[in-house]
């Protein structure tokens, strides 16, 4: 199996507060890895380090074979073109329509000039997330679930090799949350992308995960499939699934 993300003894602190205390993780190509954990356990910091938004203090972090902290600005930019990031609040550009949100990375990141190709890519991803009718809407006109779908569409439009999800179902009702989780799974199959999903939503983890890790106080304390961890001997691990 080809490893696309390799993390070894990664440490990160903010001031005197240590957030990551030496985590190790390998994510293989095409795999859906879910990281579960309480708020403040270091989940978001982990994926922000993977995306190069934060730089680790110690340890090694390789994404697609590149050591992220050693990359110069242009090389980091190039790597980021291969990574999609779905933010917790979707992070849609408020001043742009849905179409402009999708055109933005196509023109600036992939440097596509052909208008017909741009339009085709936009329609294709909006159809994939079931938002074809919303192409000319403003983000403010979209519901919570639609915003998440739209965020996913913007992530997919550049056809990333890795997708990082930061709490993709937070703030959604149970039904919409399930829809988004199923959509993530469909997308992983259709686009063959590798996914790292940060969540504390157990139904989402059950639907999407090939493998789960539990992070607590800056270290991974358990790893396995959903069924293995749900039936763990450790009461604390089992408590996540109740």
């Amino acid at each position: 199996m080809e490893a696309v993300i390799e993390i070894k003894d990664l440490k990160k602190s903010f001031g005197d507060k240590a957030i990551l205390k030496g985590i190790n993780l390998t994510v293989n190509k095409g795999e859906n890895v879910v990281i579960l954990g309480k708020s403040g356990s270091g989940k978001s910091v982990t994926i922000k380090c993977i995306a190069g938004l934060l730089t680790q203090d110690e340890g090694s972090l390789k994404v697609l074979g590149e050591e992220v902290k050693d990359l110069k600005e242009d090389a980091l930019k190039e790597l980021r073109c291969k990574i999609g990031f779905l933010f917790q609040g979707a992070a849609l550009y408020d001043s742009m329509t849905v179409r402009e949100n999708l055109v933005f990375p196509l023109k600036r990141v992939l440097k596509i000039k052909d208008k017909a190709l741009i339009e085709r890519r936009c329609v294709e991803v909006l159809e994939a997330v079931g938002l074809a009718d919303a192409i000319d809407k403003m983000p403010a006109d979209l519901s919570g679930g639609m915003r998440k779908r739209m965020g996913l569409a913007r992530t997919l439009v550049v056809k990333p090799e890795i997708i990082l999800y930061d709490e993709p179902t937070t703030g959604l009702d149970t039904i919409t949350s399930k829809e988004i989780s199923n959509l993530m799974l469909q997308i992983q199959k259709k686009y063959q992308a590798t996914s790292v999903i940060i969540t504390h939503d157990i139904p989402c983890a059950k639907i999407t995960a090939d493998r789960l890790l539990i992070i607590d106080d800056g270290v991974f304390i358990a790893e396995g499939t959903y069924d293995e961890l749900e039936n763990s001997q450790d009461e604390y691990i089992r408590s996540f699934f109740k």
Binding site: G15, D16, A51, G52, L53, K77, E78, R80, C81, I83, G84, F85, F87, Q88, G89, A91, L92, Y93, D94, S95, F104, P105, R108, V109, R154, V158
Partner: protein, 256 residues
């Protein structure tokens, strides 16, 4: 826990601003300049500020005339009204008042907009997608301010002369031709050029401070208001400081 002293914090703040300025300059010359966004920002900053600038300039001209008229009348010097209003508006009052008005309207709006983009992770989203937020958001806004503030000031100065004429005509019965003849012939390049150049710096400072505050205030929704407030206060101080420096430079270069 290490406690930073205010002096150290000030040095860190200066270093942050210098670094931000450096990345602004570097990104002006990078490939892929955002012309469309520059035009859009120029439209927002320029066209949408015309109303407030027109009103301010017009009333400024009226007030200047009405305030000076009684004193000048005492000395039988009413005929100096057009020249006095023209020189004081174009050299000093027009650029400074319009820059302060724009600091209130534009710096606050840039600060609040970018800070809210920061808080809602939109800037992170641009970064992580491989796009360049400094080139798209910062360069375009600062340059649009540097282009539009001088144009707005010229427009406001013209409106102030119109306002001054209306006030003088109503109180003194002066003809339009005579008023504008006197108001414009008194001006030479030493009045116009330094005033124009300083408005470019006013524009740069308004855009720069707005963007810097927007990029640095990212600690929850409360920071949106703080960014807007701090952008207005800081850019207003910069405007006064730049004005002082330009007056000193002009005096030593042109009149010494």
């Amino acid at each position: 826990m290490r406690k930073e002293i205010p002096f150290t914090q000030s040095l860190v703040a200066v270093a942050d601003q210098a670094y931000f300025f450096k990345s602004f300059i570097r990104n002006i010359f990078k490939k892929g300049f955002e012309w469309d966004e520059l035009f859009r920002q120029s439209y927002i900053i320029g066209y949408k500020s015309i109303g407030i600038v027109t009103l301010t300039g017009f009333i400024l001209g009226i007030v200047m005339t009405l305030q000076s008229l009684p004193t000048l009348k005492e000395f039988g010097a009413e005929s100096y009204i057009p020249s006095m209003v023209s020189v004081s508006i174009i050299r000093e009052i027009g650029p400074v008042i319009i820059a302060l008005i724009c600091a209130g309207k534009i710096a606050s709006s840039i600060g609040a907009e970018l800070s809210s983009m920061n808080v809602t992770e939109q800037i992170d989203a641009m970064n992580v997608s491989g796009a360049n937020p400094i080139q798209f958001l910062v360069v375009t806004r600062i340059l649009a301010c540097a282009i539009m503030i001088p144009l707005l000031t010229i427009f406001a100065d013209a409106m102030a002369l119109v306002g001054g004429y209306i006030a003088a005509a109503m109180n003194n019965g002066i003809s339009m031709k005579l008023y504008f003849n006197k108001a414009l012939t008194i001006l030479d390049y030493t009045d116009i050029v330094p005033a124009f150049i300083k408005t470019i710096f006013f524009g740069l400072s308004i855009g720069f401070v707005g963007c810097f505050k927007g990029f640095t205030y990212n600690n929850g929704t409360a920071s949106v208001g703080l960014a807007a407030n701090s952008a207005v206060v800081t850019s207003s101080i910069w405007i006064i400081v730049i004005d002082g420096i330009v007056v000193q430079l002009t005096n030593s270069l042109l009149y010494s």
